[in-house]
C-alpha cells in the first residue's frame, strides 16, 4: 500500500508558519516497504501526523490517499479491517489497558488475527526484557516497560505500515536498539514499511527517507 499526501494541512496547524522543508501542504508519496523517519521538534504535529494517517483525525485540508483511495471516503468497517491487517501503530500515549495484565493486553490484539501463538509472543516479550512482567497489570509497570508492551502489541498483526509515535521516549539507548531491531525484523518479514517519529534522534538506524515538519 502506497501512501500519497496531496497538500495535507491539519486545521490546527494552519495558522503556524512552517519551514520550507516541512511536509505540510506539500505533495509526496511513501512507497510500500520504506523505512521513514519523521523528525520534528515538539508542537510541530508529529502526533497529528500519526493520528491523521491512522484515520483518527479527519480535520485536515488536502487529500491523503491509500493506493489512490481517499482516506476520508473509507467506511468505519473498512478502517477496522485496515487497522487489523494493513496499518499498525504505537501511540505516543501507548493506550494500554491499565487494568489488564501484559499478557491480556497482548492477547487482546493477537486474538483479532491469531497472528502468533502464546509462545511466540512470550519470545518477543522475553527479547525485550519484560518476560517477568507477563502476568503483571500494566498499571504496575514503568513507562519504559509499558512502551515495550505497546511496541510488541503493534507487531501482533499483519501490516503494511507501522506508525511509531515517539516509541522510545522512555527507553535507554540499549533498549531502544533492541526494540528497533525487533521492529525492523518484523517489518522485513512482512515486507512492510514503518514511520518513526522522533524529536531529533535517528537511533543509529539507516532510514530510506527523512521527513520534516
Amino acid at each position: 500500500m502506497n501512501i500519497v499526501f496531496q497538500h495535507v494541512m491539519p486545521n490546527p496547524l494552519r495558522s503556524l508558519i512552517h519551514n520550507a522543508d516541512s511536509i505540510w501542504g506539500k505533495e509526496f508519496s511513501l512507497l510500500k516497504g520504506q523505512k521513514v523517519l519523521l523528525n520534528a521538534t515538539s508542537g510541530k504535529g508529529k502526533s497529528t501526523f500519526s493520528g491523521t494517517l491512522f484515520g483518527i483525525r479527519k480535520d485536515f485540508e488536502g487529500s491523503l490517499l491509500f493506493d489512490e483511495k481517499d482516506i476520508k471516503k473509507i467506511s468505519n468497517l473498512d478502517w477496522s479491517n485496515i487497522r487489523k491487517e494493513k496499518l499498525s501503530i504505537v501511540f505516543q500515549d501507548l493506550q494500554l489497558f491499565q487494568n489488564l495484565t501484559v499478557a491480556e493486553n497482548l492477547l487482546l490484539k493477537n486474538n483479532l488475527t491469531e497472528t502468533f501463538d502464546v509462545l511466540e509472543i512470550k519470545a518477543m516479550v522475553d527479547r525485550l526484557g519484560i518476560i517477568d512482567k507477563w502476568d503483571v497489570k500494566c498499571s504496575y509497570l514503568s513507562m519504559g516497560q509499558q512502551q515495550r508492551v505497546a511496541i510488541i502489541r503493534a507487531l501482533l498483526q499483519p501490516f503494511e505500515w507501522l506508525i511509531l509515535d515517539e516509541p522510545f521516549s522512555h527507553l535507554d539507548v540499549e533498549n531502544s536498539n533492541i526494540c528497533l531491531g525487533l521492529i525492523n525484523e518484523r517489518c522485513s518479514q512482512l515486507n512492510a514499511g514503518f514511520i518513526l517519529t522522533s524529536l531529533g534522534s535517528d537511533h543509529d538506524f539507516s532510514f530510506d527517507i527523512e521527513l520534516k515538519l
Partner: protein
C-alpha cells in the same frame, strides 16, 4: 476479555434498581393486560345473549297500575334512546300473544307441564351459531333458549319427586314439547334447548315461531312493546344506567350489577395498565440512561478497541447481548412472578365462586414480548449510535 474491559466500570447498585423497576413494571403490565382481558371476557360464551346487553322495561308505579302512565314503549321513545352515543342498538322484545305450555315428553323423566310465556329477540343479539337458531313452518323441532331460573324450577320439581337433579348439559338431552292452542284448536311442537340465559325470565324462541304463533293462535291484533333490548357501548354502563334512571326504566338487577362491576373493574385495570406502562417506560429509560452512562465511562476502552481494529459491530454485540440477557432474565422472572400472582388470584376467585378463565391470555404474553423487543430495539439503537460516535 472484551466483556471484562467493557463492563469494568459498572455501577451495580444503579443497575439493580433499574432492573427491579423493570421487573415490577413488567409484572404489573402483564397482570393488568391479563385481568383486563379476563374481565372483558367474563360471562362471554356462558350466556346466549351477547355481552353489554340489557333487557329493560318501564318501572311499574302506582300511576301505571292505575293506568295513568304507560308501561309500553312508543316508537319515538325507542328512537330517542337509539340516538344516545353510548347505545349501539335497541330492539323490541316481542312477547307471545297466544296460549302456550311446555311439557316433558321423555319416558325417563316424570311428566311435568307448565303454562309459560315466550319471547323473541332479534338474531343479532343472540350469541349462537345462526343455523341452530332457525325455525320454519315445517320444521319438526323448535330451538329454544331457556332461562336458568327455569332449570332451578325444574330441579326443584325433580328433587321433590326424589329424582336426581339435572345439569345444564343433561337437560339439553331431555325431550320437551310445546303445546299451542286457541279455543279447540291446538298444535304440538318438539323443542330443543340450545342454551341458557340469565338475562331474561321467559323462554326465548325464534322470531319466525313467534310470528307463526301470533298469526295462527293470536288473541289480539295489536302488540304492545313492554320490553326493549339495549346493546350498550363497551365500558359505558355508567352512562347507560344514568339514562335508564332519567327515563324511568329498569333493567334486570343482576345484569346491571355485572355490567357495572365490569365497567368499574375494567376501568381500574385500564388505570393500572397505564401506570404499569409508565413504570415500564421509565424503567427502560433508566436502563437506557445507564447504558449511555456505561458507554461514556468506557470511552477510553471503546476508542482503544476500535483503534486496535475491533469492528463497531463486535463491540456493540458484546454490550447489547449482556443487556439482552439481563432484560430477558427480568422478563422471565416477571412472568414467573405473574404466574404465582395469577395462581393465587385465580384460587381466591374460585373460592369466592367466581369462575374466571385460568388460562394465560394471549394478549398478556404479547405484551411481554412487545416490551422485550422494544427494549432490544432501543438498546441496540443506543449502543450502536454510542459506539459509532466514538469511532
Amino acid at each position: 476479555m472484551l466483556r471484562k474491559i467493557l463492563f469494568q466500570n459498572q455501577n451495580k447498585k444503579q443497575l439493580v434498581i433499574a432492573l427491579i423497576g423493570s421487573m415490577l413494571g413488567i409484572l404489573f403490565l402483564i397482570s393488568s393486560i391479563h385481568y383486563s382481558v379476563i374481565i372483558n371476557e367474563f360471562g362471554k360464551g356462558k350466556d346466549m345473549l351477547g355481552p353489554n346487553t340489557l333487557i329493560v322495561q318501564k318501572k311499574v308505579t302506582n300511576s301505571s297500575t292505575l293506568n295513568i302512565s304507560k308501561i309500553d314503549f312508543s316508537r319515538s321513545e325507542i328512537d330517542k334512546i337509539k340516538r344516545e352515543d353510548f347505545i349501539k342498538d335497541i330492539q323490541p322484545v316481542l312477547s307471545n300473544n297466544f296460549d302456550i305450555s311446555i311439557e316433558t315428553s321423555d319416558p325417563l323423566v316424570p311428566y311435568f307441564r307448565s303454562d309459560i310465556f315466550v319471547q323473541s329477540i332479534p338474531e343479532e343479539f343472540i350469541d349462537v351459531k345462526i343455523n341452530s337458531w332457525k325455525w320454519k313452518r315445517d320444521d319438526e323441532i323448535v330451538p329454544i333458549i331457556m332461562p336458568r331460573e327455569f332449570l332451578i324450577m325444574l330441579n326443584t320439581f325433580m328433587s321433590a319427586r326424589g329424582i336426581p337433579q339435572v345439569s345444564e348439559d343433561l337437560v339439553k338431552d331431555v325431550s320437551f314439547q310445546f303445546k299451542v292452542w286457541k279455543g279447540g284448536e291446538k298444535e304440538m311442537f318438539k323443542v330443543k334447548i340450545i342454551g341458557f340465559t340469565n338475562e331474561v325470565s321467559s323462554i326465548l324462541v325464534p322470531s319466525s315461531f313467534m310470528e307463526y304463533g301470533d298469526l295462527k293462535f293470536g288473541k289480539i291484533n295489536f302488540k304492545k312493546i313492554t320490553q326493549v333490548l339495549i346493546l350498550g357501548e363497551k365500558g359505558k354502563f355508567g352512562l347507560v344506567e344514568k339514562m335508564l334512571k332519567s327515563r324511568g326504566l329498569e333493567p334486570k338487577n343482576a345484569q346491571l350489577i355485572v355490567g357495572r362491576l365490569k365497567s368499574i373493574v375494567g376501568t381500574l385495570f385500564i388505570f393500572v395498565f397505564i401506570v404499569s406502562l409508565v413504570t415500564v417506560f421509565i424503567s427502560i429509560l433508566v436502563l437506557i440512561q445507564y447504558i449511555q452512562l456505561q458507554l461514556s465511562k468506557n470511552t477510553f476502552e471503546i476508542t482503544t478497541l476500535l483503534r486496535l481494529g475491533y469492528p463497531e459491530r463486535t463491540l456493540s454485540k458484546v454490550i447489547t447481548s449482556n443487556f439482552y440477557i439481563l432484560f430477558g432474565s427480568i422478563s422471565v422472572l416477571s412472568f414467573i412472578l405473574f404466574s404465582v400472582v395469577k395462581m393465587v388470584v385465580d384460587k381466591i376467585c374460585l373460592k369466592g365462586g367466581l369462575y374466571i378463565s385460568t388460562d394465560f391470555t394471549f394478549q398478556s404474553l404479547l405484551g411481554l414480548f412487545i416490551t422485550y423487543f422494544l427494549f432490544l430495539f432501543l438498546v441496540n439503537k443506543v449502543v450502536v449510535k454510542g459506539i459509532h460516535k466514538l469511532f
